[in-house]
């Protein structure tokens, strides 16, 4: 069964909150991880690893650097 974008967004918000302490409600599609949410490159790795566990989609490091916004990650997981 396909997971909806809203469900992925909620799951991602929970992951970001657990790793960085940023409220899940701030994790919205248009936000940039680095510029808006102030998340560093190592935390992005932790988020990628947790997202893989949660959604079963591997986000390799060479792809990770291209995922600038929350929307980019949603698209990658859904692709």
């Amino acid at each position: 069964m396909a997971v909806s974008e809203q469900e992925i967004l909620e799951g991602l918000g929970k992951i970001v909150n657990e790793i960085t302490g940023i409220p899940a409600s701030e994790v919205t599609p248009e936000k940039s991880f680095v510029d808006d949410l102030d998340i560093d490159s190592l935390s992005m790795v932790e988020i990628a690893v947790a997202a893989q566990d949660e959604f079963g989609v591997e986000i390799p490091d060479d792809q990770l650097k291209n995922l600038k916004t929350v929307k980019d990650v949603l698209n990658f997981i859904q692709a």
Partner: protein, 318 residues
């Protein structure tokens, strides 16, 4: 043919360490490269590190640390019949460091060789020393981890200059009726050979930070657990967890996943930086000196780094 009567176990008699006097703070680095104290502390957890001057070599540091471990062991130099030096930053590849260190410590004609397993080097060398003692190939072994990373760093590259440092740590290993050094669990991931690399003699150390961080925070806690299992030790019974001092966030992630809930976690990186093969004996020797761990307690050592290589074992604190 016959073999000597083998020892039931091996144990550590003593530790020793040495750091260069010169302290380099984050503010010092920020004067010449685009970085700042908050950035460094939040990403790697380092406040300051030691950097050896041009006239102090990795051999000099190994002699200082090895001499202290030898003095603490109660043995004479003549009792040592094997010297193993773990290092990946030697200025010269020929001759090896071990024979030079042995000579300067007055250890007469021991077996002497170097181990290069990068930041896992001390655990590899300790596992080898333990096996040599138990097999009857050596009676007493001096194991040293020494690094002068500063001579392989581009001091304008903030990705590496803020992390790496210089220092040495050492231990004396001897035979024991009861085991004081658990089985070593070791391995490697050569597919990631270029994640931490000095490409050639004209290059500096380079690191793929995200690749190493992902590997360290996902692949190593099972190794730590296996080292405990092989020694028959519950992680909850560890008094100390002394992982390679790579990055405070890696250290805390592995510690959390290991479940060493009652252990003092080594955080020597804060004041010592990442000293590769020296970091584990340096950290543990300083913890013993500060009284944070007591004789007879159990510590888990876990080395990991370039190779990629990893190794871990449980040891009894001398």
């Amino acid at each position: 043919m016959r073999i000597p009567e083998v020892a039931a176990g091996a144990k550590i008699l003593s530790f020793g360490h040495y750091q260069p006097a010169n302290i380099v703070t984050n503010d010092d680095l920020a004067k010449t490269i685009e970085t700042n104290d908050e950035w460094i502390q939040s990403r790697v957890g380092i406040k300051e590190r030691r950097v050896a001057p041009a006239n102090e070599s990795e051999i000099d540091m190994a002699v200082h640390a090895g001499g202290k471990a030898l003095a603490g062991s109660g043995l004479d130099a003549s009792d040592i019949d094997l010297v193993i030096v773990a290092s990946c930053t030697l200025e010269s590849q020929i001759p090896n460091a071990a024979a030079r260190v042995a000579h300067r410590l007055g250890i007469d004609s021991p077996g002497a060789f170097d181990v290069n397993a990068a930041c896992a080097g001390f655990c590899y060398a300790l596992g080898t020393a333990s096996a040599a003692v138990r097999a009857g190939s050596a009676r007493n072994v001096l194991v040293v981890g020494t690094e002068k990373l500063s001579q392989w760093i581009d001091w304008t590259d903030r990705a590496t200059a803020v992390i790496f440092a210089d220092g040495a740590g050492a231990a004396v290993v001897t035979a024991s009726e009861t085991p004081g050094i658990g089985p070593v669990v070791w391995g490697s991931a050569g597919d990631k050979f270029d994640a931490i690399i000095i490409k050639d003699r004209d290059s500096f150390l380079q690191q793929e930070g995200q690749t190493v961080f992902r590997w360290a925070t996902t692949a190593l806690h099972p190794v730590a657990k296996e080292a405990c299992d092989r020694a028959g030790v519950d992680p909850a019974d560890l008094a100390a967890f002394v992982p390679h001092q790579a990055n405070l966030r890696i250290i805390e992630a592995i510690a959390r996943k290991l479940g060493a809930d009652n252990a003092v976690i080594a955080r020597d990186i804060v004041l010592a930086g990442n000293t590769s093969a020296a970091s584990i004996p340096l950290a543990l020797s300083r913890m013993i000196e500060r009284g944070e761990v007591q004789s007879g307690q159990l510590a888990l050592l876990l080395g990991f780094g370039a190779g990629l290589a990893f190794a871990g074992q449980v040891v009894e604190i001398p």
